[in-house]
Amino acid sequence: MNTENNIKTLIVKKPLKLDCGKTINEFPIAYETYGSLNENRDNAILVFHALTGDQFVTGVNPITKKDGWWSYAVGPNKAIDTKKYFVICANVIGGCMGSFGPSYKDSQTGKAFGTNFPIITINDMVNAQYNLLDHFGIDKLFSIAGGSMGGMQVLQFISNFPDKAKTVIPIACTSSHSAQNIAFNELGRQAIAADSNWKEGNYSSNDTIPNKGLAVARMAAHITYLSKKGLQEKFGRKLQEREDIKFGFDADFQIESYLRYQGSVFVDRFDANSYLYITRAMDYFDLAKQFKGNLSNAFKATKAKFFIISFTSDWLYPTQENKDIVIALNSIGADVGFVEIESDKGHDSFLLDVPDFLSALKNFLDRSYIES
């Protein structure tokens, strides 16, 4: 284990064959843990992060100095109670918070891999993270949980390792990226590619980086994480620190200013190439296809207890797509619960203070833990 700049890293010695055909060796997985592993080693929860998340789930992120991305849900006495459970989260491979990714230096050239980094998939991500179980000596996780791309990893993980988790919580996700999902990701990628600083991915951290393209990608994506109603209620047509419109292209409206801000802070913490690689991994995700079109077969070998959660105003991963997973599980008699949470906060609901969601998550985990 290396600890550098507050980032804990596991160097995976075992070679990992990627879906693209390449094999990676001796690669780093950056991770963080919360709470403590009990004597029986049966209280561990592996949390998977979404597209722009990282291993810093809760508390203050030591790199960005902001609250961890799932601070509402994870922590002492929270839904995922770190007084009870040992929470592990790793930065996905392809990411930019210490795990093996395009900003990682190629030992042969001494330069960042950039777009020479191999294309990775959700399957590769979970296979890489599986090494953490050996590292911590955990035979079986009490739970795996995640929202959005984190939920996709949850589904892939239990499919790959059917007896390695007792409970499975995919939130606001899908078993297969839709055309609309791919379209929005492509918009983000093209925004990055259109930035002349991108240089086909061969920029280095010393150069000017494609932050304009990445900011636009983030702005567009951010809209898809919210709902029309949520936006209207929060911003409406409110003006940004001005009495009236200025007849120009400055940010007259609060929503414009908000999006610009979201874009600008994002580029400080995220690598443009990582954004390309991870969105690609999401687009390639199609769990049913891995099982000849039959999603149920992905879960046939597991006895785990599933709890699937969607949100009424999530139009990026709508309830129906979450329900398709429920249907696939029911058709093989799996143990599956499902609830759609009422919320105006769109896809981002799973990251926010949505009491019905947080209490459902807490109740499911705590009751399952007592009965396990």
């Binding site: 008699g333 599956v336 499902f338 499911f364």
Partner: protein
């Protein structure tokens, strides 16, 4: 726990797999799980009720019986329970068909519209009957397909559905319904409980 659930629980053998359709707050599910070692699942339309079930550690799916029963494979449960909701569906016949497809057996309970108090209410007051089991006004009742014990009894027979057991509930007493006493039971029971199979 209400008498109806007690009677339903007695009809269910131990260690079986049961789906409770319209499981509400999970009272019956919890009882079956704890007392009869039942592998129990619930389907419930109300988000709040689903939350209550989750808090009790019960496996429940938020959904609507008319739309969501089709996801369950044929005969995937030993019993499917439907308590006092058949009359609330747009297409009760379809729901009944689905219950009998998904379950090896189904337990269906119906509030009896032939109950003497209901008949008397309509006869004397001339307004839509309101009773303990049917507490809503005509304009806000979810019950759009009311039937009597006699109606249901005749209906299942006409559809070649086997009745294993049919019980009439009057206050705390449960008694067997048969061809010969149907008219009497239809008058004096406020609830009918049917164990059926197709």
């Amino acid at each position: 726990m209400k008498n109806e659930f007690q009677v339903i629980a007695e009809l269910i053998k131990k260690n079986k797999k049961v789906l409770d359709v319209g499981c509400g707050d999970g009272t019956l599910m919890k009882f079956l799980k704890n007392n009869k070692n039942i592998n129990i699942r619930g389907l419930e339309i109300s988000k709040n009720k689903v939350q209550e079930c989750i808090a009790k550690g019960l496996t429940v799916i938020e959904g609507n019986a008319e739309r969501d029963l089709k996801q369950f494979p044929d005969k995937s449960f030993d019993y499917v329970v439907l308590s006092q909701t058949l009359q609330a569906f747009l297409d009760p016949e379809l729901v009944l068909k689905e219950l009998l497809r998904v379950g090896k057996q189904a337990i269906v309970t119906i509030p009896n519209f032939g109950y003497w108090k209901i008949r008397l209410h309509l006869l004397l007051k001339g307004t839509m009957p309101i009773t303990k089991t049917l507490p809503d006004e005509w304009y806000n009742t979810p019950n759009i397909h009311m039937c009597s014990i006699k109606d249901f009894y005749n209906f299942v027979k006409s559809r070649d559905i086997k009745i294993f057991k049919s019980l009439a509930i009057n206050n705390k007493n449960a008694s067997i319904i048969s061809d010969s006493n149907l008219t009497i039971k239809n008058l004096f029971a406020d609830l009918g409980i049917f164990l059926i199979e197709k």
